[in-house]
Point group: C2
Chain length 345, copies 2
């Protein structure tokens, strides 16, 4: 059976199941509109550890363990832990993998990492290489600010187009159809396909305007998905981007319109969902942990409850580094998408 | 058909083909024992560009294009470009992907990235998601030194256990069995299986002793491969590690002996092959580009020529970051392995 559609899209004939998920977040995220839905809210952003980086890694490890505990499994039972984060050399994921001791595939797609990992995990599952895999991604406001922008101690003012990096982690467990997990948190959620991203670069150089840098990638991948599958945006109950924020989302609508698609009616952005406007986060949340935690705690439960039946989950990543910015490079971006459905029997 | 063996190993029933490869390296690598085998030797380590980082990205892009040109294909013809490098946020690969415009999966496994990418690309090929994919990895002496150790301008003396990061890139093209590539550079080389690594950490904290940090990971993955497949080291004509260097290789022999395997007779290390002792590189070469370029230019042609029939290619990665080292963390490591065979018809 042909599994590729066009040049970027694919289908997963065996429809791998999403059987569990978990999210650990920070205090500010816990005070937001989704506060009651997260598995754990960490009031101290170091978790009592020596550094924010250690805390971030610990939150990622915690989300993975929590997602597995819900289905009565341990890290020993999984074929793959795959994922990443925003820090140099993805240390949050690497150190989490050291503790978990599962076979580990490190991924880097900046804030697109969760969708990138879901694509690879579901392909490996469909291909017969995994019976149970966990995808995870994390970010941390304080570790990210000093990695990409300024030391927090400087008290630098945020620009109007900036977004606040989410302190949080999300983990999603994917099982093959023949892996009968009786304790599954989600009884009927499957990944049925998706679209692999290409890198886009419209020449944006402002590292405080990630929404603008990433909107072209989101538009490219969404339109490729719609075109290659010959569907319209309403095929999905929601097209859910990771962290474009309010400014980037407006740009996305315009860019999609240029290609003949009106998506504003079905669009939702995790970065605009995790914080309320009263929380003063400028254009919204961002970071690997943003869409990972919103997917785990809000979107998957909505699918399970039948409030949504089919979504396109599109995570976008800005492929800059602090060094590439200093060297005057523009910000290349990528977006990866997966189709997540409620399996109606 | 069952494709997993034990908890970390796998087989690829369709035996995806390696159809082409290419390597671009720097001047010092060109002056080494493999000098005549590389596709391009870049005499100026900036390639005339503004930075070493730009040069590294350009070398990676060049190797990918070159591997494709050899089989009369372009980046438009591939289903996936996957790979990475050592720099923060894998900018070499990200910026190369921007130029190539192929669907891109960014990977991070430090110096294990080439093997990690070969595992995922061959699984996606076997699973029916890719007809032609290119795996690529790169490193650059000058960009790595300032990323991980000291600015070159300081003229810091190398420690006796140090290794020299290879300036180089390698790219390997993987085709599905039904993709009939008449122009294939290699007519009979296949990937038949492999072993996915777990993170090991023996508490090494010296970032100038990567061999010692990575040897436990190499031993763990090699022994898992031998044990799970119930084979002995002589099953392979060579067990080829990426960049353990002379010190790390000695440690590897000892660690394998503890588990009952004597591998020194069949072992080869790319880091000890790419430079000669006269080149004063202490324990040998290292970096993502080391095993990627040696695989592309030396090992695959040896397989094609029948000088080798079956190898275990084991690339090891040290999952540290400059920040994790400064924070006093030890160096976690991982090794991924693929079985590459000559298909005897």
């Amino acid at each position: 059976m042909k599994k590729t559609v066009g040049t970027q899209s694919f289908i997963l004939p065996s429809r791998p199941r999403i059987v569990s998920s978990a999210a650990f977040v920070g205090r500010k995220e816990g005070e937001g509109p989704l506060g009651s839905k997260f598995d754990k809210i960490c009031l101290d952003d170091t978790l009592g550890l020596d550094s924010w980086e250690q805390a971030e890694s610990h939150m990622l490890e915690g989300a993975v363990r929590c997602a597995l505990e819900k289905i009565n499994r341990t890290p020993n039972d999984i074929d793959f832990f795959m994922g990443g984060d925003l820090l140099s050399q993805i240390i949050s994921a690497g150190f989490a993998a050291r503790e978990l001791q599962s076979p580990f595939i490190g991924m880097y797609g900046a804030c697109s990492t969760m969708a990138e990992s879901l694509i690879i995990a579901s392909m490996l599952t469909d291909g017969g290489f995994s019976r149970l895999a966990v995808c995870g991604a994390s970010s941390h406001f304080s570790s990210s600010e000093r990695e990409f922008r300024y030391p927090l101690e400087m008290g630098t003012q945020s620009s109007p187009t900036s977004q606040r990096t989410v302190t949080g982690s999300g983990a999603v467990a994917i099982a093959s159809v023949d892996n009968n997990i009786n304790e599954a948190v989600f009884s009927s959620i499957v990944i049925s396909g998706g679209t692999v991203g290409r890198v886009c670069d419209y020449g944006i150089t402002d590292a405080s305007n990630m929404g603008a840098a990433m909107a072209p990638a989101a538009s490219s991948t969404i339109c490729a998905n719609l075109m290659e599958n010959s569907i319209n945006p309403q095929y999905y109950d929601r097209i859910i981007t990771g962290d474009l924020g309010s400014f980037g989302s407006e740009m996305l609508y315009e860019l999609c319109k240029l290609k003949g698609y009106e998506i504003s009616g079905v669009h939702m952005d995790c970065g605009m969902t995790i914080f309320s406007p009263q929380q003063k986060v400028m254009c919204g949340g961002s970071g690997c942990g943003c869409c990972a935690s919103v997917l785990s705690s809000e979107i998957l439960p909505m699918l399970e409850a039948g409030k949504l039946n089919r979504i396109l989950f599109v995570a976008t990543g800005a492929l800059l580094s602090p060094l590439s910015s200093l060297q005057g490079e523009s910000i290349p971006s990528i977006a990866h998408a997966v189709v997540i459905e409620r399996n109606v029997k």
